[in-house]
């Protein structure tokens, strides 16, 4: 017990610094590397317009992935988010087309509320099926993925659902294309959503419980945490994030179809993992997630801006880059 106090804490602090920070920093290092590569590939790349474009269009995946960070941290998985986007967007547009409310701004407000409520409800359904039904989240949400997508196809009769009122369209358009103090609205929304999410995850009791539940369910239960409730709420948060993404998505093209959001779930999960959150649960890195979403979008962007890659090989190279990014990240982290 009589250990000299002085040398020890140092070693420890040193180790901690390595352990904690590098892991969190790694995705940002990968991002920086990509920016450098991009700049070499095409001088237009590093321009403000292009970067703003990329950041803006990463908004959907980024926001959805923030929600996914909760679900994954709590040890679950949600494969239905892509279909959920299509479903919520369809209902929202159909509602606006119904003309139930005459005043455009009032109508828009009502539609926004509706979208959020539906998103939350879809998330709740996922959560309840997973927790109350005790079905593996992979299968439960694969099931609801089929359901939401099927309902969307049915609503749209396989085609597109397009916002019909030009008034509403004009009113709503700035929600995606506008900017505040030079910052495009979607980027602003990403930042706000992420900040709130980070606050919830790191600074509230609920956030703690998410991590505990993801890390070890029995321990959480023995500590008096309502495990199922924590998990269900994570799914609801995911649903709300999907709804927010929809609020940005609808003004962009003013329409959705049965193909909206296909495979977005894989992209969202990839963003979460590239951002440094482990799929087995127990630790969430919200800012890393955002970084991951941005990395994914950048890879596609660089590919398109480069002139020397056959369009047939883009998929292959994208795959390789993801693997390389993860290797870079690992090698940074492993040294600790």
């Amino acid at each position: 017990m009589s250990v000299n106090g002085s040398p020890e804490p140092q070693v420890q602090r040193h180790r901690l610094w390595r352990d904690v920070d590098l892991r969190a920093v790694a995705p940002f290092a990968a991002l920086a590397l990509l920016l450098v590569i991009g700049a070499l590939v095409n001088p237009n790349f590093i321009g403000l317009t292009n970067l703003a474009n990329v950041a803006t269009r990463s908004a959907f995946i980024a926001i959805i992935a923030v929600g996914a960070t909760f679900v994954i941290s709590s040890g679950d998985l949600d494969l239905s988010v892509g279909s959920m986007v299509a479903f919520v967007a369809s209902l929202m547009i159909l509602f606006m087309n119904s003309g139930a409310i005459a005043d455009p701004s009032l109508m828009l407000t009502a539609a926004v509320v509706l979208a959020v409520v539906i998103g939350g409800a879809c998330g709740l359904a996922n959560g309840l099926i997973t927790t109350v039904g005790r079905i593996e989240p992979f299968i439960a949400t694969l099931g609801t993925m089929g359901i939401y997508r099927g309902l969307t196809t049915w609503l749209s009769q396989g085609g597109a659902i397009t916002l019909s009122s030009p008034d509403l369209q004009t009113l709503y358009r700035p929600a995606y294309f506008g900017s505040v103090l030079g910052l495009p609205v979607p980027i602003l929304v990403i930042l706000i959503v992420t900040a709130i999410a980070a606050f919830i995850l790191y600074r509230t009791r609920y956030g703690r419980h998410v991590v505990a539940v993801g890390s070890n369910r029995d321990v959480a239960r023995y500590s008096g945490i309502a495990v199922d409730r924590v998990r269900t709420i994570a799914f609801v948060i995911q649903g709300l994030c999907v709804a927010i993404a929809v609020l940005l998505y609808v003004p962009r093209l003013g329409s959705t179809s049965a193909t909206t959001g296909i495979l977005w779930e894989l992209q969202a999960i990839t963003a979460v993992v590239v951002g440094g959150t482990a799929l087995k649960g127990g630790a969430g890195r919200v800012w890393g997630t955002i970084c991951g979403a941005f990395i994914l979008e950048l890879v596609g962007n660089i590919m398109l801006l480069s002139n020397f890659i056959s369009e047939y090989l883009i998929g292959a190279i994208q795959g390789s880059i993801i693997i390389i990014a993860m290797l870079v990240q690992r090698s940074l982290t492993r040294r600790s």
Binding site: V3, L16, A212, S215, R221, Y222, S223, G224, I225
Partner: protein
Amino acid sequence: MTLGGDAPRTAVLAAERISKSFGEVQVLFSVDFDVLPGEVHALVGENGAGKSTLVKILSGFENPTSGRLLLDGQPVTLPANGAAEALGIVLIHQEFNLAENLTVTESLYLGREVTRFGVLDRRFMRAETRRVLDQLGSHIDEDALISSLAVADKQMVEIAKAISRDARVVFMDEPTAVLSREETDILFDQVRKLRDAGTSFVFVSHKLDEVMELTDRVTVLRDGQWIKTAPTSLLDGEAIAQLMVGRELSSLYPTKHEPNVDEEVVMSVAGLSTGYVRDASFELRKGEVLGFSGLIGSGRSELMEAVAGLRPRLAGEVRVKGQVLPPGDFREANRRGLAYMTKDRKGKGLLLGEGMTANLTLQSIERHVRHGYLDPASEANAMARAKRRFDIRVRDEKVRVGRMSGGNQQKLLLAKIMETEPEIIIIDEPTRGIDVGTKQQIYHFIAALAREGRSIIVVSSEMPEVIGLCTRVAVMREGRMVGMLEGEEISEQMIMRYAAGLRRQASA
């Protein structure tokens, strides 16, 4: 049931005719038990006697099949899953109940986080954690991740967690199994202080000297039945042991068998260093039992894992029978007849979700391959043999290992290692959580192995164990081997002197 003589005090918490069955297996038979205010009550019994089950029922983690609980004399149904903490009833689980991804502070406050305006008051919680840890004399960093802690430190976190709550009754299920003497002393001081302030403790332990030292009353369970409750002062260790086992115990330790000086050196370690352990060298002879003693965290496990090839080493050489053992190749070490038994039976030793047989033969599965495929009959034979040899007691043959009592798990782990028929066996904490009767069996077993010509390294935090078993004892301190004791030198005082850094040998 209550003691004669004393003024009748109402028990804080009492159990009346508690029975418990898991499915068809009954593990408690109409047990009575009570905890008086401000007492330390020992609960002892053999492995699988039902101690853990009883304390789980008393703290609301399990429901009794029949019988009732009284809180302050009133019948209660305790809320499940640790919610009984609100009533002041706290349990330190025998198995760690910590989430690896949380920090020490987070674990301490899990489920009862302190918030201000809905925001976690992290500074307050950290300061409180620090205070409690300091009180326990523990130097664990309050921001360290649980996953980075050694087993003993995890136990300290569990203890800190329990005493940081305003508890009326604290159940401690083998809290000292992985603690050093010093840490145990600090813990006991705390317990006494809290007891004098009115808190009651139930202390489950296999260390009868500690029971004698700390507790006011003792309750003995045997095979799920209540045997006796009596003031500790009226009993002694021998008597308790006899009540537990139900028969007379012969001497705990077998006679030592010293190998010849010119006996072949089967393993030699020279200049071995890892991140923490520096420059360790020692030799092991055929038929020898070599002990490794030292304080918790002195690096014994790290050294042994490096020797066995489970951990990378930075420098040094290990030779088995003169041949250099390649570093970091545990499988090669196994092939050369070197086995290592981990002290972390739950995390690294056993597959908790599988049955006993799958675990037993996991490391030696090739012995059961006939014509290219596994022979279940041969495995079943091995299981039957192991159960006899190690006295593994279960009431349900198909039980998942995670549901076996701690001591029986330990025996199964030892059996699993022995299935590989190693020549050199490194046993890390051989009797963690094992009752006296079984301990004796294991000690005799180790001695028998040595007589057969096998060589054994015993890493243990229990000094009597090292002293009683080993012909030589190495002492480690802060990652270095500071002494090698032989013959008459082997005594608690000498070991402590080296371990605490008051003495060191030039040669080591």
